[in-house]
């Protein structure tokens, strides 16, 4: 079955003023849709057709650049939309908060590490909170549409939070002020979903 562009759980204007409706609409209906279509095109009629996105990413070093770029773009945006919510923000709680405190020293230290990863990614890419195979949480960043599920990633594991720092994610509203966009992201993080992904 072909990959499908997911519907969002909230309206395009629901994350305003942190992320504006026009950015959300173009990001979802143009960028994410293009990755989805291109991924389907890249696997159609090949032995990869029918594989799950996770399986494709886990063996990405064996696949074409088109599968890497579009498979990453498809997965990353799927995750991105779910870790945001109009009712988001605040701080993580429970098990996730305990794990963050244990691995980073404090919630603030984690935020600082994540902000730095997002701000210093040169060019296009993503910042991640990653749960590694041994359960430890780390912050990483990847270029373009790569992600920690890929076998080529420097830091491998399960991404449980991701921030898109391609300029298309923020340029209409924040222009060159990427740090302002990163700061605003904390107001829309859906910690319930991040916690769910942490517990999987």
């Amino acid at each position: 079955m072909a990959f499908e562009l997911p519907k969002l759980e909230y309206a395009y204007d629901a994350l305003e003023p942190h992320i504006d409706a026009r950015t959300m609409e173009i990001h979802h209906t143009k960028h994410h849709a293009a990755y989805t279509n291109n991924l389907n095109g890249a696997v159609a009629g090949t032995e990869l057709e029918g594989q799950s996105i996770e399986d494709l990413l886990a063996n990405i070093s064996k696949h074409s650049v088109a599968v890497r770029n579009n498979g990453g773009g498809f997965f990353n945006h799927n995750l991105f939309w779910t870790v945001m919510s109009p009712n988001g923000g605040g701080e993580p709680t429970g098990e996730l908060a305990a794990a963050i405190t244990k691995d980073f020293g404090s919630i603030d230290a984690f935020k600082e590490a994540f902000n730095k990863a997002a701000a210093t990614r040169f060019g296009s890419g993503w910042a991640w909170l990653v749960k590694q195979a041994d359960g430890k949480l780390v912050v990483s960043s990847t270029a373009n549409q790569d992600n920690p599920l890929m076998d080529i990633a420097d830091v491998k594991g399960t991404p449980i939070l991701g921030l898109d720092v391609w300029e298309h994610a923020y340029y209409l509203h924040y222009q060159n002020r990427r740090p302002d966009y990163i700061g605003a992201f904390w107001n829309v993080i859906n910690w319930d979903e991040v916690t769910r992904r942490f517990k999987v």
Partner: protein
């Protein structure tokens, strides 16, 4: 020595409607300026403190390279434009384009394809090789072909900040219109 943002030979609104004044204000006034400022701060106390920009582009790594090459690339990019530009080159560059690509249209097609398919942030380049022939190369992020011994003739910035306010996701439209503001006199002189 302190690097400075170069003055442009045209007004910030002169390239409209291809590149808006707003885009120029951010791209030249903020991004290009930030690369200049960052470079000046980063080279202090390093072996590149008194180096010229070309040396920095060719020899440095990391943050100094990223900012230094972005200063060079943006200056090269902005200096390729003029209001009511466009058309086609003449003289030696036109002959070299015909020899290397078959025709100007073929060159345009190949250059546009390179710019459109560069994944992520970066630059598409027309370069001169040591033997005088021309080639098209793609460079990610701050990449610059001088590091490979090639001579840059023309570049198109395909970082999203170059076109997103004006064209959003429609990068191919930006690339198509880019040709209508080129100053082929300046570009030909580089060849």
């Amino acid at each position: 020595m302190n690097f400075e943002l170069p003055k442009l030979p045209y007004a910030l609104d002169a390239l409209e409607p291809v590149i808006s004044k707003q885009t120029m204000e951010f791209h030249y006034g903020k991004h290009h300026q930030a690369y200049v400022n960052n470079l000046n701060n980063l080279v202090k106390g390093t072996e590149f403190e008194n180096a010229d920009l070309e040396t920095i582009v060719k020899k440095s790594e990391g943050g100094i390279f990223n900012n230094g090459a972005q200063v060079w690339n943006h200056t090269f990019y902005f200096m390729s434009f003029k209001p009511n530009g466009g058309g086609a080159p003449s003289g030696a560059l036109a002959e070299a384009i015909n020899a290397s690509f078959g025709s100007f249209d073929k060159f345009k097609e190949e250059f546009s394809a390179a710019a459109a398919t560069l994944f992520g942030s970066g630059w598409a380049w027309l370069v001169k090789k040591a033997d005088g022939s021309l080639a098209i190369v793609k460079e990610s992020n701050a990449g610059n072909p001088m590091r490979d011994g090639l001579t840059p003739i023309l570049t198109c910035d395909v970082w999203e900040h170059a076109y997103y306010l004006d064209k959003q996701n429609l990068r191919p439209k930006y690339i198509e219109e880019f040709f209508s503001i080129l100053d082929w006199d300046v570009i030909s002189a580089r060849y």
